[in-house]
């Protein structure tokens, strides 16, 4: 609702909030589903209080006539069933100047953090209306009200509620009645700029979280074994994978810790089954030694790291791009491996799938750096394009007696040597994390070490990664280089800059290791200076670009620690300043 004088908005940001148990997440998901089925694009993120369960909750949604990948700088509507502890979301739900704060009149004035911006205040007897309906609840009254304010079709709202509660008729009827009551109560409020008509029908679009997309990408890539230890915010990916893997003939093992998960994945992959583990920063830290084992033994595995704020336990529920350093450099010894990063909710599918394909064909570990924002955001996206072709491991054929002995770590030109899968006769070998000769026999000879290091480097360095290594958009003699979840707000910021006559290129790196300096230099041809955008305190991507790329352009840095996502307006402001400097 960027311009209140317009009769319709192309993008509206809404926050629903309330204390624990008030059904805020349920209402948020219903609103998201209603908007999705009505033909809008939308994105929902959530936040909750520090309590393990039952704390205050907020569902933050952006509904638009175009794909959305981030929240705006200001919300247009905050609707709460109560104000108990909701002030804690003050920093996460900044109200725009033309915003509206809507609450229950019995709850008194909304917290000042929300109204300080000059947002309008409205109050209705939400709880009293709900009490008038046997079994009715205020969250459904609020949902009906918000749906009406936004101009979402009544049948889409009705359908979203029915789909969720359809199996519980006792809850469905009062909920629909409360929804309708909320809808009629909207008439008494001052006019609110409704959404512009939807951009076509929902057909062909998906509603998915980044964690689900990563899980689906893993399965599309051929993963059939997962071992993992629960950790926020990776758990949902595992919970989605558990039954899904089973249905496609795979298995998920809950391991005793991350040391076990990665080694179980290595064992399964050694057995010929493409394998994955998912974790967050603390777990990735525990896995580093065994990632080196996967490098040395040339065992393909994928580790998905849904990054959260670190170091240590940090802020488990908030996003940060702080694990880039250990993902790139945390392994001891010279240990070439792959590091990839999805740059959107939908891209988590293709990037995870690509990671499986690369790990399998290059016989090495791949780390996928997603994050809490991408992982837990639920979004309407266009159906993702087909991913990389499924995993293809170069497998050794059986050999007969009299054949030359099998050389598991043969020094081939490509560096890739056919891997024997247990059960195959005549090519038994011992995979080893100890340095070894071509047959796998442990060796402490310098020559073997140097030759195997070369082999392991060569297979990654010489591989043709094609076009997926980065997303390159726009033109001009300025560029912003970023990765992961900063890409969404950057894309939006650069579109706004372009509208103002400032052309800036977007470079979103999907393949972070091995570094692709020649490709990046080519992508920056004609660029006079570049800004590096990332969400961490120390500038980990900036350091990576400086140390591994030797770029022909000067680099400036735009970064902030995790805990609060960048928004487009904030990036735009910096880009404009930087472009003029």
């Amino acid at each position: 609702m960027t311009n209140p004088s317009n009769s319709a908005a192309t993008s509206v940001a809404i926050a629903l909030a309330g204390s624990g148990g008030a059904g805020i997440m349920t209402a948020g998901n219903m609103l998201l589903e209603a908007a999705a089925s009505a033909g809008y694009y939308a994105l929902m993120t959530r936040s909750s209080g520090p309590q393990i369960r039952g704390g205050e909750a907020a569902a933050m949604l952006r509904i638009a006539t175009h794909p959305v990948e981030c929240m705006p700088a200001g919300f247009d509507l905050l609707a709460a069933v109560d104000w108990e502890n909701v002030h804690r979301f003050g920093a996460e739900i900044p109200l725009g100047a033309g915003g509206l704060v809507l609450g229950d009149e019995a709850e008194g004035a909304p917290p000042a953090v929300f109204t300080a911006s000059g947002a309008a205040i409205a109050a209705l007897p939400l709880a009293a209306i709900a009490r008038g309906i046997p079994g009715g609840r205020p969250n459904m009254v609020l949902l009906g009200l918000v749906g009406a304010l936004l101009g979402l079709p009544e049948d889409a709202m009705h359908e979203a509620v029915s789909r969720t509660l359809g199996k519980r008729p006792a809850a469905l009827e009062p909920s629909l009645a409360a929804l309708a009551a909320g809808r009629s109560a909207a008439g008494s409020l001052q006019p609110f700029t409704p959404l512009a008509p939807p951009p076509g029908s929902a057909a062909g679009r998906w509603l998915i979280t980044g964690n689900e997309a990563a899980g689906l990408g893993a399965l599309q890539g051929g993963v059939r074994f997962v071992a993992a230890y629960p950790i926020t915010p990776a758990t949902e990916m595992l919970e989605w994978l558990s039954p899904s893997l089973e249905s496609v003939g795979g298995v998920l093992v809950q391991a005793e810790d991350e040391l076990a998960s990665i080694n179980m994945a290595i064992g399964a992959s050694y057995g010929g089954v493409p394998s994955l583990t998912a974790t967050s920063g603390p777990g990735l830290a525990l896995m580093l030694e065994s990632l080196g084992l996967a490098v040395a033994s040339e065992t393909p595995i994928v580790v998905v790291d849904i990054m959260r704020v670190g170091p240590s336990t940090g802020i488990p529920t908030k996003s940060e791009q702080g694990d880039l350093d250990i993902a790139l450099h945390g392994l001891h010894g010279d240990a070439p491996h792959l590091v990839l990063a999805p740059n959107g909710v939908g891209d988590a599918l293709a990037t995870t799938q690509w990671a499986v394909t690369l790990a399998e064909s290059l016989q090495c570990p791949a780390i996928v750096l997603s994050d809490q924002f991408l992982g837990q955001a639920r979004a309407v996206i266009d159906r993702p394009a087909a991913g990389a072709s499924p995993a293809a491991r170069d497998v050794a054929a059986a050999a007969a007696e009299g054949d030359a002995p099998y050389r598991r770590y043969a020094l081939t030109d490509s560096g890739i040597s056919p891997m024997a899968i247990p059960g195959t006769a005549g090519v038994t070998y011992t995979a080893d994390g100890l340095e070894h000769g071509e047959r796998g026999t442990p060796s402490s000879q310098f020559t073997d070490h140097a030759a195997q290091l070369d082999k392991r480097l060569r297979k990654l360095a010489d591989h043709d990664y094609g076009e997926r290594w980065a997303d390159l958009e726009g033109e001009g003699d300025l560029a912003v280089i970023t990765f992961g979840s900063c890409t969404g707000p950057l894309r939006e910021a650069l579109a706004l800059a372009y509208e103002r006559g400032l052309a800036v290129r977007l470079v979103s790196l999907r393949l972070l290791a091995p570094a692709q300096p020649a490709r990046l230099a080519a992508a920056l041809a004609g660029v006079r200076k570049a800004l590096v955008l990332e969400q961490n305190h120390s500038g980990q991507l900036l350091r990576h670009l400086k140390s591994s790329f030797d770029l022909p352009v000067p680099l400036a840095s735009l970064r902030k620690p995790g805990g609060q996502q960048f928004n487009a307006a904030e990036i735009l402001r910096h880009v404009v300043e930087w472009s003029a400097a």
């Binding site: 998906w206 998915i208 074994f225 249905s247 496609v248 050694y270 247990p422 011992t430």
Partner: protein, 274 residues
């Protein structure tokens, strides 16, 4: 597939062991080869997995598939392999440091998970590979450069831990009795679920006094109990030198189905389509 022409020699590779002459681990290698021959398993259908230590060198000395991983994680590798490939016979091997110290958590959970694999621990009550430091099974007063006064800590009882944690088969063998040990390994492999075989395997270099074990062990002193309470009573009264099967239980192994696809990943996409 059964091939009756396989002899123990078929299960050894041409790689020369790095062990000190007289090391107990030679006898374990011989017993393992004998056991695999008795079981008539094709070498390519067997995987021997280990961590790090002198004892953990064993996989490359067999002609089976082998995986020599990092220190302490052998049971995790073996678990992943067996769950992913239930058709293989998986034997996990290692030392007391590898299995009870750095890998102790995996030992607990492998017993409890009860995946159908065999775990052979070559217990020499010392860290051999790092040249003589105390392990969790070392006597409290055993002195070394690192712990000149001894650890002052009591030894753990791995068999008692295995029993408490839920291992389905628990036995003790001695490397100086390769035939007896081979028989124990055969029983362990054949018994469903997680089978734990503790092997007294002297480190002649750092614990030369363990050469005396051959005079101290008592063959067939342990009789298999199916009752864990009875097994517990016996193991707490045990001095560590009684050989045989302590416990053979009937717990159902952990074997989640794999390879039975009802859907394709593309089918799963439908639940996200609007």
């Amino acid at each position: 597939m059964i091939d009756m022409t396989l002899t123990p020699a078929h299960y050894k590779s041409d790689v020369k062991p790095v062990w000190c002459p007289g090391c107990g681990d030679f006898g374990v290698l011989n017993a393992l080869a004998k056991a695999l021959a008795k079981l008539a398993l094709r070498p390519e259908d067997v995987a021997v997995v280990s961590g790090i230590g002198c004892s953990s060198r064993i996989p490359a000395y067999t002609s089976a598939y082998g995986f020599h991983g990092v220190h302490g994680r052998a049971l995790a590798v073996g678990t992943g392999l067996k769950v992913a490939r239930p058709d293989l016979t998986v034997v996990v091997t290692g030392g007391d440091g590898d299995g009870y110290s750095i890998g102790g958590n995996h030992f607990l959970h492998a017993c409890r998970r009860n995946v159908d694999l065999t775990y052979i621990v070559m217990d020499n009550r010392v860290y051999g590979m790092t040249k003589g430091q105390p392990s969790p099974t070392t006597e409290a007063d055993w002195t070394s450069k690192l712990m000149p006064q001894g650890t002052g800590l009591g030894e753990i009882k791995p068999m008692a831990i295995a029993l408490a944690a839920g291992a389905n088969f628990i036995a003790r063998g001695f490397t100086g009795d390769p035939n007896g040990l081979a028989d124990l390994i055969v029983s362990a492999v054949e018994h469903p679920g997680f089978s734990f075989v503790e092997v007294l395997s002297p480190c002649v270099t750092f614990r030369p006094e363990q050469r005396e074990w051959k005079k101290m062990v008592r063959g067939h002193a342990l009789a298999p109990a199916a009752d864990s309470v009875e097994a517990a009573t016996r193991i707490f009264a045990d001095d560590g030198m009684n050989l045989g099967v302590l416990y053979a239980g009937t717990r159902r192994p952990f074997a989640p189905p794999i390879g039975r696809a009802q859907r394709t990943p593309t089918d799963l996409e439908r639940r996200f389509a609007l």
